[in-house]
């Protein structure tokens, strides 16, 4: 079966769509992602990315339209991303082109990925509208691609060295080191390590006033504890060019220990839970133009993750559980150009996931996923269109875990066929105006926890489906010799549905027992606006401005047994999704100086879908500033960056009872050779 799927189909003739791309392989991949996708990504890259006071990918991603970040606070706090209100499990995160997996709970903690050495972050709604990609890239409702720095050497260069040291509030110590070496004309290597320590201590304040009089009811300031983190990351990569193609191989290792600071509740201002993570993976890929019409791309990954959770608090239930996950993945993508304007592709992926734990009464599940994506793309100049269909075949098995007396069996096999259609139309050759539309139907699989976790797991769970309808436009204009050198605007309106939403339902009697069920339904109507402008002022002062605005009406239409209770939640805005949110980045540069200002606004929202006074959350917003100075030395370069975050020292919470830091500072020194 598998072999058959990998069989290439046809090997003939010329592909015009790709002919430009073979010249300089090193740059191509970068150009390719944005050039080939018929609906462009929202992207942060290079200087723009550095202009943000962002420590992790999660912080940076807040500047995209349509995205909401759940941030539990601090350097080590969990940070997950929700794209267009469909839920964090619907977001695929791709690390240098291969998806990061977490079959256990489906959550990728983007706080764990530092911005050190990230070249670009791209966000695609629906999927990257490029048909030459692995089948897995078709498999999420939205995707974030993290692209890391690759070695680029000029003719004379042999090696690069970059050393960074960052320190500041929360007792942060964060050195990192990058070494790149040209091994031969066609092969180069890089090694990158980073260490993070932070005590995670910060002051937070709860102040309440009496309604009407505004007299202080209580005003308490305390220090966030047990938010400490230690993390070490090491990566190595080999990058090579072959005739009409390229290959790369990466190894990644991450080890961390962190406190889980927990919710701040009355009479309990500290928690003791801890978590250890060790992640290791090796991934690689190669692409080659076999004939002028036929391209192939091979990717693979092996990952091994270990997570240990400890509750040492003797007044509570003692918990010390370790979970191990393994993943093996291989993908073959093939693209064939039928004519100069018409491509077809077939991608076949195979993936194996397994989970083992020492949790009582939890089985060891193994999931085999076969993904086959058939896609086609047409480029008629003004009109570009793509259509794809993804077949997902899932087969699961279980073996006995620790004390698993009551095995309920494994989840039944699943076969899903899900389509996507993308379309773009640029009516005027002279104007940079394009319209776009897409429809996508996709799902997320229930996670291993949803299916098998002791007591709450439910093997009968169906996948959680989404339907997305999007209409949008992009307009851009550049001017010669004017103060306003360039501006662009992107606007998208959308309607999304989440059906069969997996929710925890109270089960049986007492003691907070739950069961996972496919009960929820959410409808999302939204508008994403993003724009940017570049200003050239006299004396070589350069200004970049980037702004986003998001409107989302994300309503809970989950049926309830009790009609009176249903009335309270029916049509309610789902938890933590603001109706209005936005961001603004302004950066100005003058000679070796750069001054940046960034702003995040999250409007009023409710912390659950009963949109009543008790659950109301006020808007919050943060203002961040940073100042950078570049010192060019003979052969090297030194950069100093000073950052102030939450300038107004606003006391806010993103998640109920998880207070965020007040004003805080960072200083970064970067030395490059």
């Amino acid at each position: 079966m598998l072999l058959y799927l990998f069989l290439p189909f046809c090997l003939i003739a010329q592909s015009k769509l790709d002919s430009v791309q073979h010249i300089d392989e090193v740059r191509i991949t970068a150009a390719k992602t944005s050039a080939k996708a018929i609906i462009p990504a929202q992207q942060l890259e290079g200087a723009q990315l550095k202009a943000l006071n962002s420590f992790s990918v999660a912080d940076a991603i807040r500047y995209f339209a349509g995205v909401q970040l759940k941030d539990y606070g601090g350097v080590g706090g969990l940070k997950t991303v929700d794209i267009r209100s469909m839920g964090t499990n619907h977001m695929g995160v791709f690390y240098d082109g291969i998806q990061l997996g977490n079959a256990q709970n489906g959550q990728i903690d983007l706080g764990k990925f530092s911005l050190d050495n990230i070249e670009s972050i791209s966000l695609y709604n629906g999927q990257k509208s490029d048909i030459f990609q692995p089948a897995r890239d078709y498999g999420s409702s939205g995707s974030v691609y993290l692209r890391f720095r690759r070695p680029h050497f000029s003719q004379q260069e042999k090696q690069h060295l970059k050393a960074t040291f960052r320190t500041g509030s929360f007792d942060l110590v964060n050195p990192s080191f990058l070494y790149e070496r040209k091994l031969s004309e066609t092969v180069s290597a890089s090694v990158n390590t980073e260490y993070i320590y932070s005590s995670g201590k910060y002051k937070f304040r709860y102040k309440r006033v009496l309604p009407g009089s505004n007299e202080v009811a209580y005003d308490t300031t305390a220090i966030r504890k047990n938010g400490d983190i230690y993390a070490f990351r090491a990566e190595a990569g080999l990058y090579g060019r072959i005739n009409e193609g390229n290959w790369e191989l990466k190894a990644y290792f991450y080890d961390s220990e962190r406190g889980i600071p927990g919710a701040i509740v009355n009479n309990r201002w500290m928690n003791a839970q801890r978590q250890w993570d060790t992640n290791f993976f090796v991934q690689g890929g190669a692409r080659k133009v076999l004939t002028d019409k036929y391209d192939v791309m091979l990717k693979f990954k092996f990952a091994s993750d270990r997570m240990r959770y400890l509750n040492p608090d003797t007044t509570l239930m003692y918990i010390d559980n370790t979970f191990r996950q393994g993943e093996a993945y291989v993908s073959l993508a093939q693209k064939y150009a039928i004519t100069g304007f018409w491509d077809v592709s077939l991608s076949t992926d195979f993936q194996l996931n397994l989970l083992e734990s020492d949790l009582d009464d939890m089985v060891y599940p193994t999931r085999n996923s076969t993904l086959i994506a058939l896609a086609t793309a047409i480029d008629l100049g003004k009109i570009k269109a793509q259509a794809s269909i993804l077949a997902t075949l899932i087969n699961e098995k279980i073996t006995s875990g620790k004390n698993t007396a009551n095995q309920a069996g494994s989840a039944p096999n699943k076969e899903e066929f899900t389509p996507a259609v993308f379309f773009s139309y640029a009516p005027f050759a002279a104007q940079n105006l394009s319209f776009r539309a897409f429809y996508k139907h996709i799902f997320r699989m229930p996670t291993f926890n949803d299916l098998y976790y002791t007591d709450i797991g439910n093997i009968q769970l169906q996948p959680e489906f989404t339907h997305q309808y999007n209409l949008g436009l992009k307009y851009s204009k550049s001017y010669e010799q004017q103060t306003l050198a360039h501006w662009e605007l992107q606007l998208d309106g959308y309607y999304n549905e989440v059906r069969n939403k997996i929710v925890a339902v109270p089960k049986g009697s007492g003691m907070y027992r739950w069961m996972m069920m496919n009960l929820g339904k959410v409808e999302i109507r939204g508008l994403d606006v993003s724009s940017k402008a570049v200003f050239h002022l006299p004396r070589n002062v350069l200004f970049h401005v980037k702004g986003t605005y998001t409107y989302q009406k994300a309503q809970d239409f989950t049926r309830r047994k009790n009609p009176e209770l249903e009335k309270i939640t029916w049509g309610g805005q789902i938890p933590y999704i603001p109706w209005h949110s936005g961001s603004l980045i302004v950066s100005g540069s003058y000679q070796n100086w750069q001054l940046n200002y960034s702003f995040i606004y999250v409007g009023e929202r409710y912390h659950n879908s009963a949109n009543i006074r008790e659950n109301y959350e006020q808007p919050w917003y943060t203002n961040d500033m940073s100042l950078l100075k570049n010192f060019s030395l003979k052969e090297s370069n030194l950069k100093v960056a000073l950052e102030v975050s939450n300038l107004l020292s606003q006391d806010y919470e993103v998640v109920l009872n998880y207070p965020m830091p007040k004003r805080n500072y960072k200083i970064t020194l970067t030395f490059e050779l």
């Binding site: 709860y206 308490t220 339902v505 109270p506 049986g508 009176e564 209770l565 606004y601």
Partner: protein, 378 residues
């Protein structure tokens, strides 16, 4: 765009967060009697810090929702996280707030805060003489890697609110009952049994009130939860079952023999003693229908027979999601039933007359659960 954002900044400024003030909802016509009203403690989902206190005033027919913060504006982070029990004793109201590790002590008539009793992982409270007795899961810790932590009963002076003694019992003790000069404690072993049923506790600890020491254990069944003494000093104990094959069930301990002499096939989640009638609500998960099966039973504690398996007569039971607390008006026999819904959004309180016909309903806080009746001031 920038303009839009500036507008957002200007007009959506973050104000100081206002303290929550109570809602008053008229649900019925007022009536006077021996009882002035009742408090209802909403547990609030864990980590939400949303345990709230509601009050229903029989005299005015007004339901006052979420009164704690208004009455006690100066308590940081209000009532706390996960209310687990509510009792009135003398002039005081005692709210056991489990995750907040405290028993909140309020004036019974006004709900004005008097103080708090610090007891980690506290569960249930009962009284005798000058003392309150509180169960807790968090016994002392020994330096021994294999040590598993026993629970205890704390003896609290109700005048000083100080813990004056502790008596170790079984693992994870839940409800307690005081009768015949003894404290009977239902041990659950709830932290121990998830792997195999045999690891649950299956005993009631018997503590002598005078010496405050554990005298013996009475074997009942796995994972005990609730315990009440009837008029004759006999004890009714409920087992939660193991959530798998072993169902929740009701047991009878004879006062004289001090052993289980009878058992009734009724699952128990919450209950209320009304004379010789035990009103029992239960929710048990069925792996066959993949839904909760709910019973509303009345057990006669004298004849030890099930009087009815559905005390609601008008069909309303079809709509209730999770009955989580029940109370019966001592004089009128009106039945008050709390529906905890989906645990994360507000629940409902239903009032039925003694025949089980619905009179009114009102929205509560999250997870409405525990009732405490207040007598009219003389």
């Amino acid at each position: 765009m920038i303009g839009l954002l500036s507008v957002l900044i200007l007009f959506s400024c973050r104000d100081d967060v206002e303290l929550f003030t109570a809602d008053n909802i008229d649900v019925d016509t007022g009536e006077t009697g021996e009882y002035r009203g009742f408090y209802l403690l909403n547990e609030g989902n864990m980590g939400s810090n949303k345990s709230t206190l509601d009050f229903y005033d029989f005299e005015t027919g007004t339901y006052k929702r979420n009164i704690y913060a208004e009455v006690n504006p100066n308590v940081p982070k209000e009532l706390g996280d996960v209310g687990n029990d509510l009792q009135v004793y003398g002039s005081k109201l005692y709210a056991v707030i489990n995750v907040s590790n405290k028993v909140e002590v309020l004036d019974a008539q006004t709900a004005v805060r008097i103080g708090q009793i610090e007891i980690p992982n506290c569960r249930y409270i009962r009284f005798h003489g000058k003392y309150a007795y509180v169960t807790s899961y968090a016994g002392p810790v020994e330096i021994n890697p294999d040590y598993t932590q026993l629970g205890f009963v704390a003896k609290v002076d109700t005048a000083t609110l100080q813990v004056v003694g502790k008596c170790l019992v079984g693992f994870q003790p839940d409800e307690l009952a005081i009768a015949n000069g003894k404290i009977y404690v239902a041990n659950s072993g709830g932290y121990m049994g998830s792997g195999s049923t045999e690891n649950y506790e299956r005993t009631v600890s018997v503590i002598d009130l005078e010496s405050f020491t554990e005298e013996k254990r009475i074997d009942v069944d796995y994972n005990l939860h609730r315990i009440r003494a009837d008029k004759r000093g006999n004890l009714w104990v409920s087992s939660r079952g193991d959530y798998k094959e072993l169902p929740s069930r009701l047991f009878f301990i004879d006062a004289e023999k001090q052993v289980v002499t009878d058992t009734i096939d009724v699952p128990v989640s919450s209950w209320w003693q009304h004379g010789d009638s035990l009103y029992v609500c239960s929710v048990s998960w069925s792996y066959i229908t993949f839904s909760n099966e709910i019973t509303y039973a009345v057990v006669n504690t004298q004849t030890r027979e099930v009087v009815t398996r559905n005390f609601i007569s008008d069909g309303s039971e079809q709509q209730i999601e999770i009955p989580y607390g029940v109370m019966v008006h001592p004089e009128k026999g009106d039945i008050f039933l709390a529906d905890a819904g989906n645990y994360v959004t507000p629940g409902m309180l239903y009032c039925f007359d003694r025949d089980g016909t619905r009179k009114w309903s009102v929205r509560t806080g999250d997870i409405p659960a525990h009732f405490a009746l207040i007598k009219t001031n003389d």
